[in-house]
Symmetry: C2
Subunit: 344 residues, 2 copies
């Protein structure tokens, strides 16, 4: 991925991603013919110009289009749009043009749910407007959404994770009669201070191709039965998308390997009653010094009991838990946890 130069002249790259997930619907309930994938590719590419990134690879199945971007990934399903971008990209700048494209080409006329989230940046001062401060991001999101609620999970003065989502009141009639939501869940593991030997795999010096890095690191074994689209950057850095034709699930991993600012993110919506095994495999693979763990699950998800399980998990091997927090939103339960190797 592209390197930025910090104000002190030292090369720096912000691996921490901004993650935007939007679910669309129709006010008349008749959204069967609507599909975000009807938006022409060229229009999506123009949208990404505003975000300051571009498509570098693409795979798809009948349930989801998966793009590897110059800065992270984009997943477009029938009614769910996911844009995850790192570096100094500006994903919230695309909200207005995205809404216009969705209305014009996809047929949806309402946003059902929004999740904008990110870990605290290592260098917020290098970000562009409105991403220098969460308050600015929230102000922009509030100008689009009526029921937006902004949260900061974890420790404000150390490692934390910001979330903006819609949290309408129970009593809001408009939202009440939607019926049973489809099962949905998202697991994210945001890792920092990673093992330099593992990180070396994600350099051109040590791996001659993305496939070699995927295989050597053990990424290919993390979630089975995924069609993998991987990319190894020059001189270092790695991105991969995985999609499953069986259930329409995705996974995505992004690696910033430089020792001074190493960062790896893992994200997937694979439905599981327990994420302990997946989490353990991810930790063994990347060997982070510390990580943020987030699990979203709605009431109908197989992962609905994960908060209880994580509550009991005060350590994963050498990684000890410092923080665990739960939020109950109208449609989703969220668990946030922070672990680090002791001594941190």
């Amino acid at each position: 991925m592209a390197e930025s130069e910090g104000s002190n002249g030292v090369q720096f790259f912000e691996g921490v991603e901004k993650l935007l997930e939007i679910w669309f619907t129709r006010t008349d309930g008749n959204s069967k013919q609507c599909d975000l994938r009807n938006i022409p590719r060229q229009k999506l590419e123009s949208l990404l110009k505003i975000v300051r990134c571009e498509v570098i690879s693409f795979i798809h199945n009948d349930q989801v289009d998966a793009y590897v971007l110059s800065e992270s990934s984009m997943f477009v399903a029938r009614r769910r749009f996911i844009l995850k971008t790192c570096g100094t990209t500006t994903p919230l700048q695309c909200l207005k043009p995205l809404m216009l494209l969705v209305e014009q080409y996809a047929g949806f006329d309402e946003v059902e749910d929004v999740f904008y989230s990110r870990k605290n940046f290592k260098r917020p001062d290098l970000q562009m407007n409105p991403h220098q401060a969460f308050e600015q991001e929230v102000a922009l999101l509030d100008s689009f959404f009526k029921d937006g609620a902004a949260y900061c999970l974890g420790t404000v003065n150390r490692d934390c994770w910001y979330l903006y989502t819609l949290n309408p009141l129970e009593g809001d009639n408009k939202k009440r009669h939607r019926g049973i939501p489809e099962p949905d869940q998202t697991l994210e593991i945001l890792m920092s201070d990673l093992d330099p030997e593992v990180m070396a795999i994600f350099t051109r010096e040590e791996s001659s191709s993305a496939a070699e890095a995927t295989q050597k690191s053990g990424i290919e074994k993390l979630v089975p039965n995924m069609m993998i689209d991987d990319f190894l950057f020059e001189p270092c850095g790695y991105s991969m998308n995985g999609i499953s034709s069986k259930n329409g699930c995705y996974m995505t991993i992004h690696v910033t390997p430089e020792p001074d600012f190493s960062y790896v993110s893992f994200e997937s919506n694979v439905p599981q009653a327990s994420y302990k095994d997946v989490i353990s495999r991810v930790l063994e693979t990347f060997q982070p010094g510390k990580f943020v763990l987030t699990v979203f699950a709605n009431k109908t998800s197989p992962a609905a009991e994960c908060p209880r399980e994580l509550e009991k998990t005060s350590s994963f091997g050498d990684w000890l838990r410092h923080d665990i927090q739960y939020c109950r939103f109208k449609n989703y339960d969220l668990t946030y946890a922070f672990y680090s190797k002791f001594p941190s």
Copy 2:
């Protein structure tokens, strides 16, 4: 209570309190002879000058000294110091002199736990350094405490509640061998937008004495068997402390009745397996438009199961829950919830 004049010339008073609670101990474990109440009264009064408030009333029993202040309350027990002050007071400015007094007169040499918390201010711009922003308060606290962790519960862009506490790692040997902690719990209800008819009780126009306001409002029935020290300000405003000689418990209520910025806080450490009845009585008494609810309970507290109970309580009568969050700290579990009357 004293009124401040806002920058726009309109009278304004910040009812929202800054709440500082510190537990002291001795590194050698031998603290039986130590007592915060050995600090001379005149030294405490000098301390309060730094905070910009003063003592206006005092009661005590063999377990706790309870002071009504010109801006809220102070409770001094053997090893627990509580300072709760509203308006534009500066409680964090007293940390250093407090530590010196504690060492010199009380005999403790270590801070076992700290809780600094407050709701978001209505007018942060009117506060004095370091209270204009939570980040500044945290920076000052971090200069005193090694294991400090700062949190923001609730919605950053609407109603939220800040907390700074010590959250040392499980593996920290120094803290691990303390044995079983004494049961402890704190319930706070921070109410805004209150019923003007109820608020009128707390004016000199409608009540001729504090005792009349306490009786007419129903405050005297909220928690039974308390020795009450109440104060009605001129022309309006009300404070009360209650202490129980039976179990050393306290309660404290502060009322800012002006319609433009009405605010009432209720706090108590009475141990209960369920707080539903107390909460309901407080809500019926004050009729707030919205309120923040926080419950701290350690593992040995009778209130340890309150988080589960509150999880199931999506409403108290007309007050609907918007938010509920849980944090697990090393020694305490915290539940935060926000409710408002619908439509808010």
